[in-house]
């Protein structure tokens, strides 16, 4: 099963580093030691790290997102592999990735957005087929978690929102 959180058979696992070129490895130095079950899944992990631009990604969530992406589109693993190969080969900068694929009308153009939607919003698929797999753990919530709570989560005691959040942030930084 192509699920990242199923860590049962370590002997058969692939080192992520082996799937990368020097260029992609330089984008995600923090992820190189990770192991994955298959090259396809590895491609997803590498793409996730490149697109999300975070130092670490929750492996349990990664497993859930990958599983859902494959369920939505059985062609996803292959497409992820091809996209990683393309980035490896052409050394495409993450910020240029979408534009390059769109300009070239590439058949892989939808792949980065799927990965971005999954990690940043916790949503996989579109329209009536869409599924939400993460909300407070989606990266867009995590990225601002020091200042904002995702809507429906209590901000704090009554009136706490009157405080200047930037002063609070600076205080935290000073306390570190």
């Amino acid at each position: 099963m192509n699920c990242l959180n199923e860590l049962k058979k370590p002997t058969r696992r692939v080192l992520l580093k082996g799937l990368l070129t020097a260029y992609t490895a330089s984008l995600i130095p923090f992820a190189l030691a990770e192991t994955v079950d298959t090259p396809e899944q590895g491609a997803f992990v590498a793409l996730s790290a490149i697109i999300a631009g975070r130092q670490s990604l929750d492996p349990v969530l990664a497993g859930m997102l990958y599983k859902a992406l494959v369920e939505q589109d059985p062609g996803f693993p292959q497409a992820a592999k091809e996209l990683l190969a393309l980035i490896n080969q052409r050394q495409i900068d993450p910020m240029q990735l979408q534009k390059t694929l769109d300009d070239e009308k590439s058949s892989l153009a939808s792949v980065p957005r799927k990965v971005a939607m999954a990690w940043f919003m916790g949503v996989v698929g579109s329209g009536a087929q869409a599924r939400c797999l993460a909300y407070e753990h989606a990266l867009n919530a995590q990225i601002v978690a020091d200042v904002l709570k995702p809507p429906t989560y209590a901000y704090g005691a009554y009136g706490s929102w009157a405080r200047n959040p930037t002063v609070e942030l600076k205080k935290e930084v000073n306390n570190v």
Partner: protein, 540 residues
Amino acid sequence: MSDQLSADIVIIGSGICGAMAATHLLKQGASVLILEAGGPIDRGRVVAAFRNSTRKSDWMSPYTCSDIAPHPIYKPTDNGYLVQGGPYPYPAEYIRGVGGTTWHWAAQAWRLVPGDMRIKTLYNLGVDWPMSYEELDPFYQQAEEIWGVSGAENTGSPRSQPFPMEPVTEPYAMRRIRERLAPAFPVVGNTTARNSRAYDGRPACCGNNSCQPICPIDAQYHGGIAIQTAVDAGAQLQVNAVVYRIEHDDKGHIVAVHYFDADKQSHRVTGKTFILAANGIESPKLLLMSASDKYPNGLANSSGMVGRNLMDHPSTSLTFDADEELWLGRGPQSPSSINTMRDGEFRSEHAPYRLDFTNISRVNSATDALITAGVYGAEFEKQLRHRAAFEMSLKDVLEVLPNPENRISLSDQKDKLGLPKPKVNYAIDEYTRKGAARSHKDFARIAEMMGGTNLRYSAEGSFANNQHITGTMSMGIDPKTSVCDSYGRTHDHDNLFICSTGVMPTSATMNSTLTAAALTLRTAQHILPNRIIATEQGRG
């Protein structure tokens, strides 16, 4: 199983208006039966559904659409329930379920300004209301005490009694906006039905910032609370009861209503007095559907005005990056506004407006925009934080004048029960467009004063809708030009009353529900059982 249900007062619709009327009448000793088309709504389930929603900015997404009593849905695809007749789209949003549409509202609880009720006299526009602001004041107060309303004193709406509670604490972002726009623009706290302290068994706001689509702790008043109060006071509530016909006798007196249950079994319900409270679109639809030989154009429609004069509040907006960190999304969603353009001589030239500042977290919309723009990698985090911190947005809330061509009518399409779907014709006239153009001068100045960059105006000529459905069953003195009198009593049927935003003859510049609630309490007081019911019995 026909004819088993009966009560002194039969109310169609369990929304905030129907429910508040029910409680008032129950306290006077009347028996009340409420027929509600939709099913129950559970707060906890809605909160969970929102967290699991794949469209966090679509506030309808956590609410279930009833099979037998659909409401308009636009995402992910239009369910085609509200048929658009043009020329301008009117994508109304409402909820058909126990408690109605205020389950997902911003709880803005505005009074009119006195000039709003006399625009014909003052500015030779639209129509005058058949009552004065002073007459409405005590009913506003009653409604505010039931809801738990607070806000600034200086919003342009006079009051003879204080608010029942202190204003809700101003979010930091709004404080900065207020400080920086003073004195050119006085930014004041909105009046809202949101608790600044525990009130009537409900807690103080804790800043979840999800007032729309759902307050997880009931810190704001809504129809779900109103209907629970009515049921606790003894109202009989029949859910999944889709009223499809109002029946009259040969004198035009209403004798019964008919509803379909979930199995499309028909039931007849009798009563002495009937209150139509099925919102500004479904109510006129029901009056039109109840046409008979005696009333071929529908009930209460001798004026031909049922469904006509549809109004709302169109909005244009400006979003920009301020030059300091504001971090919208801390505290309630709709805290502050500018109220200086609600009334004045200029009204003879262009629409008045309020300017409303949002405090809705930017995180979701910014994420959407960044993904659309293909911003990935470390840059995403940087830009998301920047937008979440610096972005702010304001909108105008514009008056629309009554125009009979803007209307709700019956389409030739049918819903699952075979009942006609409503059709809407709507246009936005020069008066409103000129008001928008005027407000854009304010937008520009405000952006300048906030050090704004990256200015993004809403698309030229494009208006968002605010879901304040008004005018479709207008009150007035003259039965030839209006549907009901100032008590909501239909001119054509002495025991049929309407409680709704739809009875408002003009739209003004404020969210309309508090005015509808005040009018509802005035209607309910007028119906006082010992008066109307005794009259009915006297008639035999």
